[in-house]
Each structure stands twice: as C-alpha cells, then as structure tokens.
C-alpha cells in the first residue's frame, strides 16, 4: 500500500451495481492508467453506502468528498479535476431534493395504507436504548403472559395456529420447528437467533435490531420457554456495530430489571442470552454453518440430517430462528393467533418486510401483508420506477432467488406463489430493474456474489460457480459461443442438483431465471462464427440426459 495517496471508494452495493457502478470503476481504472496515476491512487469497491437512490456513489479519501449519481463518463472529471488538480467536481455533489419533488411524492401516495407493520411495529417509534419505552408500549407482556398464564403447549399452539413461517427465507413453519425441538429429550437445549443477514441490499434484520431489540429478546425467551432451553445465542455479523451496541444495552437493561436471568416473572424459568459474532460469511446464515461458526469451527454447512433441532449447538437440540421471525412472536402472543392468521394468504400468514432497492423511487424498507401484488409494492408503495422509465424485472430472494417480469406483477405474493413463478421469498431483498439494465450483467453480479461467498466445501459450488462466472464473463465480453451457453446451462442444473447446502443449490437461480425470461439478451452477446446473430439450432455435445 506504500505510495498510495488517494483512495477512490466506489459503491459495489446491489443498488449501485444496478446503476452501472461497474462501468464507473472500469473507466476510473482506465483513466488512471492513462494518466499514469495507478501507483498513487487505489480504487476500492465497497459495500453499500446506504444511499442507493443516489447511486452510483463515489467517495474520495482522505478528502472525504462524496459524489453521487456518477455516470461512467464522469470518471474523467473525477480523475482530472479532483484527483490530479485537487478541484472538487461541484456538479456531482449531493443536492438536497427540491421541495417540489417532495410535494409531488406526497401527492403520489394513495390515501389508503398498503403497509402493515408487525415486525417493524416499534421501529422509529421508541428509543431502542430505553427498555421502559418498550414496556410502555406493551413490551414483555407477552413473555409475562406466557410464563405465568400459559402452559408451554398453549404457547406452542398459539404459534402453530398463527401460521407463522420462517422469515429467513426457507419459510419453514416456526411452530413446527419449536415443536420438534421441544420433543427432543435433553437437559440442555439452545435457542439461536440468526442475525447473519447477508443478502446483498437487504437490511431488514439490522433495522429491527437497531430499532426494537427487546422485541427479539422477548421472543427468544418465549421460544426458550416453549422448547425448554435456558440459554440463547444471537449470532450477528460483526459488520453491524450499531445493532450489536443496542443489543448489548438491551441485554443489560433486561437483566437489570430481571426480565432475563433467574426466576423470570417469579417463575422457575431461567434464561439468558449470549451474543456471538460472525465474520460476515454469507453461508453462515445457513443454520448448520451458523452453529459450526458459533462453536468456533469453520463456518461451513453440514449434511442434514441430523437437523439442528435434533443435534445442534455442541450436539444439543437447537432451535434457530431468524430476527424477523422472532419479531412477530410477541405480537402473536399479545393479539392472538387468530388475528395474525387473518392477515395474509391461505398458506402464508402475516406480513413480510422487504428492502426495496434498485431503480425504484422510494428506496427503503416496507412491511406488507402476504398476498399483496408486486405491482402494489412497486407502484403504490415504492412510487414507481425512477425517471418514469419502464419496469423490466424484479429480483427477489437475493442471490438465491430469481427474476420476475412484467407478467408476474399481479401475482399475489407469498412463499409458494413466488416459488411457482420461479423465484423465492428469501429474506426480503427486492431489487427493481428498469429497461436500461442488462439482465446478463445482473445474473453475473449475483453469481459473483455466491461464488465469493461459497465456503468451498463441495465441488459443484466451489468450482462450478467459478466456471459459471467465467463463462458469463466471456459472454458479456462478447467472446461467448452457443456452446458456452449450453455449458452454462448444464452447470446450472448440475450445481442445483448436486450441491451440499442451500447456498449452492440455489446459486444458479439468477442465471436460470434470466435465461428463461431474457434469453434474447444472452443471445445478443453471442457473436458465434456459425451463428452470427446468435440464432440457429445448436446441437450440444456430451449431453447425457440433462433436463433443461
């Protein structure tokens, strides 16, 4: 690093990637090279600046200058003016949105409310660092009620009847998970909160932990009571310092008033929670990998069975639930399973928090009842596509999901319908693409993510995703052939069919679904000698019974 005087940080978050930050990086690099400044200036691709609407974002360090909406052609000015001459490029600085815009937006918002906030009910309303504000709004009453007025079975029954399903992505019925863990005969059991949120562009869990940490602690205690655990663990990525700080404050306050610890509410129920930190490996969100990581082992998944409910943390029955799942629990206990089950669709009850990003006007977090349509989310809540451009596609389920198109906009979304139309609920990332986005590049972006996040344990995911990425690179640089497309397809199905854990099994999804819906965009890159327009019939070789 010696000799580097300036760092150019370019946002590599999903939102910004969708808005061409990759090209910005490329141009910055080329110009630096041309001006012979490569030795002194380093370009760093960073995580999301949290400012997606203004992307692509470029920050110059140590000058602490923040440029927004940087287009690839702005790279020249940033280097020549700022980096070389030290003059700030005024036109790229962030400007406050004009009041006009705000008013316009206000008018856009329909008078009826599409959002219902259960998991986010206290976020933005209470001081997360004051347990009494939480109590004032009914906090810890559900725990008190469960411990003093309800049997374990009654609490379990309530959760089961509510129809709540895991909000981490898989959608496994929460009550059933609790029941299986409860049934295991063991003196030692654990309940773990999975706060290893890792989908690019997703920050639902972070917001809950930062805005309403006690809701999670209380729900963990309720779950622990049901399954018979006296110890809980929150596994959180170390990249969430503020969430960790607020969790620590919440834990201390809960212990101080006796809502965690021994004989809670004067009963013989004891429960306390530890925080364990993840280093941010995406695969650690997979529950067996998470448990390995908690035990201080390499964060990689194990073959299931045995499931954590049978043999989890240090071999003891362990229930792992996601932050958002927990955030629904107290509301269910307080207001009843019936109320909760009245919201949503037949098989998916309640609400889901989504992080809206990409080419949408109102970038942000929303919580909507299951069964809402994508159109309502994008146009009524999200305020439509930026610049009034045309909607092209929507990615749900993060790197494990797929793209949805115009045709799917009126689907009432829930766990099952999303799978039916070729994507999945996932943890709640929702990224909107407009007509200017190239879908092959989008698929490549997601694949690069899973490739980087693969733990490397199994062959298909370790080497297969790498080869897929290489083929996609070849295609997008217009050097691909029809044979490459065929190879890519075969890899997709093999990796899906053979990988050890969910990360690998779903890694090809973005490619599969973009191939399905936007095949012509793949073909457009192909400049095959035999197929100048990427057309014609290609006969794949060495193909044995691949379903495609």
């Amino acid at each position: 690093m010696e000799g580097i005087r300036t760092h150019i940080l370019v946002c590599g978050g999903t939102g910004c990637m969708a808005s061409e930050s990759e090209k910005v990086i490329k141009n910055l690099g080329l110009i630096l090279k041309a001006r012979e400044y490569k030795e002194e200036v380093k370009i760093v691709q960073t995580g999301c600046f949290g400012f997606c609407e203004q992307g692509p974002i470029v920050k110059i360090e140590p000058d602490d200058v923040f440029y927004v909406r940087v287009s690839p052609k702005d790279a020249k000015d940033i280097i020549d003016e700022h980096v070389i001459k030290g003059r700030i490029v005024e036109r790229l600085l962030y400007k406050e949105p004009s009041n006009e815009n705000t008013i316009n937006k206000q008018e856009d918002i329909p008078f009826y409310k599409k959002q219902l906030r259960i998991a986010l009910r206290n976020c933005g309303l209470i001081n997360p660092e004051d347990i009494y504000e939480y109590i004032a709004l009914g906090g810890y009453e559900a725990l008190g009620k469960a411990l003093t007025e309800m049997t374990k079975d009654a609490v379990l029954d309530e959760v089961k009847k509510s129809g709540l399903r895991g909000r981490g992505g898989g959608g496994f019925p929460t009550g059933l998970k609790w029941e299986i863990t409860k049934k295991q005969e063991s003196d030692v059991k654990f309940i773990i909160c999975n706060a290893d949120e890792g989908d690019p562009g997703a920050f639902m869990d972070r917001s809950i932990l930062e805005g309403d940490p006690h809701a999670v602690l209380e729900a963990m205690a309720i779950g622990a009571y049901v399954i018979g655990a006296d110890k809980g663990i929150i596994y959180i990525r170390a990249e969430y310092p503020l969430a960790i700080e607020r969790l620590n404050i919440a834990l201390k306050q809960a212990r101080d008033v006796g809502l965690l610890g021994k004989n809670i509410f004067g009963t013989n129920f004891n429960f306390d929670i530890d925080i364990k930190f993840g280093a941010g490996a995406f695969v650690c969100g997979e529950e067996t990998a998470l448990i390995n990581s908690c035990e201080g082992k390499r964060g990689e998944p194990n073959y299931k069975p045995p499931y954590p409910a049978e043999k989890g943390y240090w071999g003891h029955p362990t229930c792992v639930n996601n932050v958002e799942t927990f955030a629904n629990i107290t509301a269910i206990i307080n207001r009843g399973a019936q109320w909760f089950a009245s919201i949503g669709t037949e098989k998916s009850k309640g609400t889901k928090v989504f992080a809206l990003a990409g080419k949408i006007n109102n970038v942000g977090l929303v919580e909507v009842p299951m069964g809402i349509t994508l159109r309502e989310i994008i146009y009524d809540i999200g305020g439509g596509i930026q610049g009034g451009r045309k909607f092209k596609a929507l990615q749900t389920g993060g790197p494990s999901g797929g793209v949805l198109t115009e045709d799917n906009l009126d689907t009432k979304i829930d766990y099952d319908s999303l799978i039916e139309i070729g994507s999945m609920m996932g943890s709640g990332g929702m990224i909107v693409m407009d007509e200017k986005d190239n879908m092959v590049n989008i698929a490549k972006f997601y694949l690069e993510f899973t490739m980087d996040e693969s733990c490397g344990r199994c062959t298909p995911c370790r080497i297969g995703t790498k080869r897929m990425y290489e083929i996609l690179n070849k295609i997008t640089s217009k050097k691909g052939t029809m044979a490459d497309l065929d190879a890519l397809k075969q890899l997709c199905y093999m990796i899906k069919d053979s990988s050890l854990c969910g990360l690998g099994q779903t890694a090809p999804n973005p490619v599969i679904s973009t191939m399905k819906h936007f095949w012509h965009e793949y073909l457009a890159f192909i400049k095959d000698v035999d197929h100048p327009q990427g057309e014609g019939k290609y006969v794949p070789k060495n193909k044995i019974g691949i379903k495609s």
């Binding site: 933005g124 009494y132 004032a136």
Partner: protein, 130 residues
Amino acid sequence: MKIKSIDELRKIKEQYQDFVQLRKQGEGNSEHVEVLVGMATCGISSGARETLNAFVTQLAKEKIVGAKVISVGCIGYCHAEPTVQINIKGQKPILYGNVTEANVSKIIEQHIKGGKPVEDLVLQVDFERA
C-alpha cells in the same frame, strides 16, 4: 428495580400512559414536545446525527424547555432520510423527511414554536402499526 410479576410490569406500563398517548396519537396529558430522530445505521449515514445535534443545540439556544430529542430506530424511508417525527400534545404526530441540518431551524421555528407543520417536508405515513 427488578420486575417480579406481570402485575408489576403492567403497573410500569400504566405509569407511561401519557407518554404512549403522546407518542402514538399526540394525545394525553404530557407537556413534552418530542423530537424523534431516526437513528439507525441508514439514518446516521444520511446525516441523522448532525440533525439530532442541531435539534439539541438549537432547542437549547432557543430556551425551549420541555422538548425532548429522542433517537429511535428506522422507519424504512431510506429515500427520505434523515427522518424526524414531532409529537406535540393535541396534534397528530408529524413525520418529516429529508431533515438535514439546514431544515432544523425551520421546523423549530414554524412547527415547535409556531405550531404549524412545515408542509414542504412532511412525509405521508403510508403504514399502520400493529
């Protein structure tokens, strides 16, 4: 103090009824004016800390007693961060978006002191809390 029973918990809750009424509906007997600043990671990175500091210093300078500046979590309006909610007895709570430092004095002047919301900055709340 340890909370040893659900009754004790409910007693605490009751003591806070004025607070809840003000916070939720702008009703009740609380004489405080509350300034809730969205201080989650996203808010902070969009300048919420500067906004919060500006409220604290300017409210002190204006000698407005009974106004409390409170940091809260995120309401999800990333497109309009920093967000600030003003709760005054007898008024519906008002949510503002894009409250940069520069807008703070305007809100104090017009809304907190004058009782008239700064229309330009008002965000329509499009959600219901359970």
